[in-house]
Amino acid sequence: MRKRINGYLLAGLFLTAALLLMTLVGAFHTPYSPTAMSGADKFLPPSLAHLFGTDNFGRDIFSRVLKGTGTTLTIALATVLIGAVVGTCVGAVTGYFGGLADDILMRLNDALTAFPSILLALLIIGLVGPGKYNVVLALGIVFIPSFARVTRTAFAALRDVNYITSARLMGAGSARILLVHALPNTLRTLLPALTIGFNNAVLAEASMSFLGIGVTPPDASLGYMLSEAQGMFTAAPWYAVCTGSVIALLVFGVGLIGEGMQALDREVD
């Protein structure tokens, strides 16, 4: 009998759902305006009025974290979407058809994965300039090779499986075979890869914004806020601790989901 859920999956889904819900609420309503400054409320420690305290301008950190999580999440989701869609297409075509295109694309892939991903993203930012959309573009491109590699293996394994050959015999076109017959059966490798990709995207965006070449003000992402927070760590340690913890919890939750999916997968075997 197949188990449909396990502890990791449950805990991960719960944590992620809670963070998502908070971010969704934060998109429409925050306790204070994330940009409202107040000279009298500088460096207030966490309290009921200010859950995460206030910063050097007296801004409410909880409200800023809510907005920042929204930015970080949007960027990470958009990035994974670009990487996964393009990567899966490349992986499907190269894995299913093989041949010269496969050889060339995979060599190029190897060359790209040999690059530090941050460096590659930095280079693309250097070419197109910083900003929210350019970060998505840069990281999206950076994540294509890893998705292509994972899906290529999955599609290549299906190439000569009986139900695929049968579909081919019955006259199904390649596009139909890939989409209808092969794609659903690659999900067990694709879904965990998505969780890993999402986490890498969150961390990469945070690092880039931390370096000051990612999201630019007035947009604030968690990484950018953390770089602000470092400068005032002795005066307001709660700023860095709260912001950093939210990044860690976000990645932790999605990581648990991935762990849970892989555990389910092992039970099927």
Binding site: Y8, F115, P116, S117, L123, G126, G223, I247, F252, L256
Partner: protein, 316 residues
Amino acid sequence: MKYALKRVGMLLVTMLLVSFLTFLAFQLVSGDPVRTMLGTEATEAQIAALRSELGLDRPFFVRYFDWLCGFFTGNLGTSFSYRQPVWDLISSKLEITLLLSLISFILITVTSIPLGVLSYQWVGGPMDWVRTAFNQLCMAVPPFFTGILISWFFGIALRVFTPGDFPGLHTNPAGALRYLFFAAVCLSIPRAAMTVRMMRSTVISEMNKAYVRTAISRGNDRRTVLMAHVLKNSLVSVVTFLGQTMAELVGGSVVVEQVFGIPGLGRLLVTSISHRDYPVVQTLVVILAFWVVLAGTLADLVNQYIDPRLRLGGAV
């Protein structure tokens, strides 16, 4: 030996490809470094003069070839924004960044392989989920966040080192190494957790193989089989993974350096990318890529020593 030569050949080809792509990428940019350097007030004549001074008016392939030759003869060009030879600008910073990534690499290797084997022995135990969750947590905390906490705790509270005051690598090597050690710890934690996780799953799947069953049925105890046979067979994929780790470590160093105020390549890389200082960026990209590809090549060579089948070009 033949295999090693082939690997070195592949390394050179990859490097040539990387250098060409980097060179090409910066030619395709819309921004013009000369206009950035001279500002908006510059006349067309001034622009043309500076362009020919920097050699930017020559055809693309001539410039690429020149630069490539310069690379091998030690002439890396002149920085556009600092008007200084690139090598003078980067050499002291480069050694710090490479050293930082090397220390982290060693830390990851010496901690994760024993921990990976240990964690196999806990599989199925009552507290196994705690370790799995802890492992996920280690992967989730970004190094720059750990960096802020560690530099506060060991730097400000315990005064083991002074954050922001990096001792010279040549004047005070011990102090510099201690400083780099803390940064390396932050950098290593997530990657070490990943390596442990990967080691563990490799050992699990290896322990289910027929040769293990045979060895155990012949009366060996599981521990001996694990240490004598399974460990060696599991190492191949772990070594490959460690080789790829170098890429992430170099990238991560750039970020962690900012947290600790280490005078490595981080700041220079960021400013020279945003100022379109091509000679500096090209050199840095090629050197860092070389470091990464070198790690991959060494990993392959170690693997073919561990597993002779690889020498014959076989797949495992």
